[in-house]
């Protein structure tokens, strides 16, 4: 937007962004220390004990085999059973440690990004001179409110993606301590990120004072009379539909080829000469189960082929599904209250939490942000468990590849939504969303509901089936 509103945004307002950043960073660091250091440290000790115990039991089992009392194929003796039980406990302890460690790290990572996002936009905008708007100027319905920010932002994305292959290689090399990557290889992407940052900060500066007057209307068919921004967000969402349709159709194509447990049990696995030596086998590329391909749902779903799936392995995905639906509802409530002309303070605890319309909108947005953040954290915890159990690119091949790409792309959309939500909360806390400018919440809500909708397809396809 072109900043045609009547609200002056003083530099002091922007400084509140720094305060919010400090608060978020404080919460993130505290959570990291609590979960990722203290709790994870205790879990690590347990894991070490279980590992030590497993090694001892395994040695006893091997000693019995060496002594000729049992055979390595015999699974009915007590030594084998004790070894398997100790191994199970060791895996459980490892996964438990990973849960706390990854959750702590994920919260810290997300908190740092959130804080950096707020700090950069706050500092860049507060370093500019205060602007004073003309009241009449702001109320002109026909004034042009075009903005260069989306173009700047898109150009930054283009640069970032152009340099991304070198960026990823260099980052990997630097993290692994190899001489493969240099800082110079990251330059195109870094310039792209800088341009993105400038675009976003400028966008904030333009949109924050916008009070709803001067919303552009389309003048020609098929959107004549409609808000241009709303038409734009719908067209954008439909392009996103195509992105996710690509993932899903790729998955379907691969899935119909794979000899999964479903297909194996049904006897529909097709045999091919994998090695070209005249030996015809079903296509299965996993050490755990040479008979059939293992998908993510085989690890997560009760009754899955791996056999480790139960209530607890399904829990993160299930909780995330509910979290997204609840967050869709909370953002609808934020929009409903922002658009209402007569806000009635609820009774009881809700009344204390939402004493004013401004506080109610802000708090519903905060709840949405917390639910979205939980989604990201739980997803990363779940990924860490899958990787620890061998569901990796090298271990499981394209089953892992399509799972991580599709769910990862969805996670990136959730994360991008969280960054936008931070701005929404900032505006709710300072300028406020009301019946005049609530279309900002509505348009962002459309994006957020789309993210929920994408999960409606991804969750059953990748987690349940």
């Amino acid at each position: 937007m072109g900043g045609g509103g009547s609200s002056d945004v003083k530099n002091a307002v922007w400084m509140r962004a720094l305060m919010m950043a400090g608060l978020i960073l404080g919460i993130a660091v505290t959570s990291y220390v609590g979960l990722g250091v203290v709790a994870a440290g205790a879990k690590h000790l347990t894991w070490e004990d279980e590992e030590h115990h497993y090694d001892e039991i395994k040695k006893k089992w091997q000693a019995e085999i060496t002594a000729g009392n049992i055979t390595s194929e015999d699974e009915s003796n007590e030594f084998y059973k004790a070894k398997e039980e100790a191994h199970h406990h060791e895996i459980e302890a490892h996964l438990s440690y990973l849960t706390y460690r990854v959750a702590g790290l994920a919260i810290l990572f997300v908190g740092i990004i959130f804080s950096a996002f707020l700090v950069i936009s706050g500092v860049m905008n507060s370093s500019q001179a205060d602007e004073h708007h003309d009241e009449h100027h702001g109320h002109d319905e026909h004034e042009h409110h075009g903005s260069a920010s989306p173009i700047i932002f898109s150009f930054g994305c283009l640069l970032f993606l152009l340099g991304f292959p070198d960026f990823a290689d260099a980052l990997h090399g630097l993290m692994m301590g190899s001489a493969k990557g240099t800082i110079g290889d990251m330059s195109v992407s870094m310039i792209g990120l800088t341009v993105v940052t400038i675009g976003v900060a400028n966008w904030w500066r333009e949109d924050l004072p916008f009070n709803g007057y001067g919303e552009q209307l389309a003048t020609s068919d098929p959107f004549a009379g409609q808000h241009i921004r709303k038409a734009g967000i719908w067209v954008f969402l439909m392009s996103e539909v195509m992105v996710f349709a690509t993932f899903f159709s790729s998955y379907l194509r691969m899935r119909t080829e794979w000899c999964t447990k479903w297909a194996f049990d049904k006897g529909t696995c097709r045999e091919v000469d994998v090695n070209g030596d005249g030996t015809f086998d079903v296509i299965a590329r996993h050490d755990l189960h040479p008979d059939y391909v293992l998908t993510a749902s085989d690890y997560l779903r009760p009754g899955g082929a791996v056999g480790t799936g139960d209530f607890w392995t399904m829990l993160p995905g299930a909780v995330n599904t509910f979290a997204l639906i609840i967050s869709s509802y909370t953002i609808v409530l934020a929009l409903k209250i922002a658009k209402s002309h007569d806000y009635k303070v609820p009774t009881g605890v809700f009344g204390k939490l939402m004493p004013t319309k401004k506080a109610a909108v802000r708090n519903y947005l905060i709840v949405t942000l917390l639910l979205g953040t939980m989604f990201i954290v739980l997803k990363l915890v779940e990924w860490s468990h899958l990787i620890a159990e061998g569901f990796t690119f090298s271990g499981a091949g394209e089953t892992a590849s399509i799972f991580y790409v599709a769910t990862g792309a969805h996670g990136v959309h959730v994360f991008a939504g969280l960054l936008i939500m931070l701005y929404m909360i900032f505006k709710a806390d300072t300028v406020e969303w009301n019946e005049d400018n609530a279309q900002g919440v509505e348009y962002f809500g459309l994006y957020w509901h789309f993210v929920d909708l994408a999960w409606v397809v991804i969750f059953p396809a990748f987690y349940l089936y």
Partner: protein
């Protein structure tokens, strides 16, 4: 906007939310049953597909129609939302389902080194 229509004192958003929660509960809960409740009949793959697709359609309708306001908004937005349906169906049919040998059956220029490893019977 759906908040003006009240059903038993609650707006359409609330009831939509309740329906979405119930169907999600049903979707997640169904996974824990390998056999139909009260019988020894195993849940077939077709049944799983049917359940997941029906639940997905209901949830998709609820989110699109009420949370995204397509039910009340001018029809142009519904047309925009439906526009990519044709392309999505084409992709699902043309890429996803029409070639079960997709991974191994693609031409060599499309899958370098793969065709030399796999030979169909």
């Amino acid at each position: 906007m759906g908040e003006h229509k009240l059903i038993m004192g609650k707006d359409i958003y609330f009831w939509n939310f309740i329906v979405l929660m119930i169907f999600t509960l049903f979707e997640v809960g169904a996974v824990f049953f390998e056999e139909w409740p009260g019988t020894d009949t195993p849940v077939s793959l077709t049944a799983v597909w049917a359940i997941l697709i029906v639940v997905g359609i209901v949830k998709g309708f609820g989110i699109g129609a009420f949370f995204m306001h397509l039910w009340d908004d001018p029809r142009i937005y519904l047309r925009v939302a439906l526009f990519p349906t044709l392309f999505v169906l084409l992709m699902l049919w043309g890429i996803g389902l029409s070639n079960p040998e997709g991974v191994t059956g693609l031409p060599s220029w499309c899958t370098p080194n793969w065709d030399s490893l796999v030979t169909e019977r």
